[in-house]
Amino acid sequence: MAETVNDYLLRAGRLPDGGLRFIDRAETATWVGWAEVRERALAAAGGLLALGVGRGDHVALVFPTGCEFFAAFFGALLAGAVPVPLYPPVRLGRLREYVARTARMLAACDARVVLADARVKRFLGEAVAAARPRLGCKTLADLPPAAAAAGSAGWGPAAPRPDELALIQFSSGTTVAPKAVALSHRAVVAQTEILSSCWSDRDGLRHSCASWLPLYHDMGLLGCVFPALARDATLTLLAPELFVARPALWLRAIGRYGATISPAPNFGYSLCLTRVADADMEGVDLSCWRAALNGAEPVAPSVLRAFAARFARWGLSPAALTPVYGLSEAALAVTFSALDQPCRSRWYDREALADERVARRLAPGAAGVAGAGRDARDAGDEGAAGATGPEGGREIASVGRPLPGFRLSVRDALGRELPPGRVGRLWVNGPSLMQGYLGDPEGTARAVRDGWLDTGDLGFIDDGELYLTGRAKDLIILRGRNHSPAEIEQAVDAVAGVRTGCAVAVSWLPDGAPGEMLGLFVERSRRAAAAELAALPDACREAVLAATGLAIDRLEVLPPGTLPRTSSGKLRRSEALRLYLEGGLTPPAPVTPLRLARAVARSGLGYARWRLARRREGIP
């Protein structure tokens, strides 16, 4: 029984089909068996030790998808260090912002050394200079020869304890409020065993996975790499930038290499609908695909239905689509919907969900007038009504039941457990929870209490299955990636005419939409000139794009004082979103002494204070 990720690597490579297959832009495959991955990792580990990397040191990794990433990642582990995967630059992206972000992450993860791809390294100079990791920035080729490690006595691969860290992953927040999730070997192994048990080989079926997900992303690394390694099986990999440019390559790789498992966030499925042409699919057979896992961002039922309908022609089974739920803080997966059945979505009374926080099922309306309506019956369950559904209804996809070892608890704001059918905050308990947020004991204490993780997600249980309705936490999820709202809000601080510090960024999944929308609500400054106000919306969009690479879907410029705040003056993001969706994000009424008196009189204490203040100022 493996106890650490190192154990997995040291045991792998016995089966002939165990290894990594890299697909390039010409769809040429390069095969690297797990034994070779191990050899390369051992060489990297020796080099890291010779360089002076010590046990428990953090090693930041900046590599595109490719064999070098694995040599560096497992090399760090075999050296007894802790790998911290960071993301490489985006194509045509704004390099200055990328460098600033990377510098911030390097500092936040307390990296002792940065390992990078030779091409990426050239861009990292400034980031490294700013963060000053003790041992600098190296490519694998820059590392001293492994023979120099531990002198002439040679060295052996590290044997970490299960409670030592296996991995640090940034879950959200890069420039502002970085959240680096620290996972122990015990947590990673527990998660890996759970996932592996979901696809045990039997009846002559040997499962294999294909993925385009970034290797610095939990679903890519924890969801695909470790289970493949633990099962000594094949993992077919495409670079994420290749998928985004040519999504058909993903589907073609699944068909060509007979992948049975392939996960993606909702965004990936949605992109295939808009960017894959029928001609791209010629000769592709998707009947091998058993588990098209859909997680990392809210699942849009309309996308599930449309994807099932569109790709059925190429053999896609409606049972393949599998909405799941997880988060970095739980080392990934928490719930799975049934692997061998069509996914389920149901209609609920929208107002009851929002106002009473009760999940009241509605009977599905007349069957599909929407384009995918008929096929929806294959993909859906009670949700077969197509995209229109009953009036006042909101369609939500089930993300299934807890995985073995996990428990769910839906709680109210005071932490009291709610019965099934009531909407509340989702808490989870299980064997793969994080050790904590690196360098943030307060954040950790807020998130994990008595072995339970407060996910910050909102949802309810119906028939034993989990349905998610939104988020109580301040987090933006777009295309499967988490962003801190503060990053987006700070981007507009310097825009002329914006009231500094008075912007709120939110994202949500509108009914029937293919994915989450990004909204930005900004208050204008009292002193803003007319010309500034006219240019304000465009200037805000540009500033956010330049700083974060994200496009704003909904922008509202509001009079000063419109955004809801806490008593201490902090902006309330989820409340702002709630008001916006209800059409209630309106400017405060002009303050008159009478109105003020009425408002404060509602609270005795407030009234007393108000009287006191007036007396101090000499007002009767």
Partner: protein
């Protein structure tokens, strides 16, 4: 040749990015064309496909405007 390249890039922008307006060399990819990170990737890949060139990170670092992209492709086609 620069005009042909600009025309080709304009076609890529129309076909793959849904850009309906005119495209000129001084337009900035992020601020003026409003390309987010996914659309920047799409543009890079489709320009490579159309002109049969490969852009490297070194080339891309300097690309801010449509004109920069035209110039880079022109150099590659050399």
């Amino acid at each position: 040749m620069g005009t042909d390249i600009l025309t080709g890039i304009a076609e890529v922008a129309r076909e793959h990015l849904g850009w309906e307006g005119p495209l000129t060399g001084d337009m900035r990819l992020v601020e003026d064309l409003r390309l987010d990170s996914v659309r920047l990737l799409t543009l890079a890949a489709e320009v490579e496909n159309r002109f049969h060139v490969v852009l490297s990170e070194g080339d891309e670092a300097a690309i801010v405007t449509v004109g920069d992209l035209v110039e880079t492709v022109r150099r590659k086609l050399g």
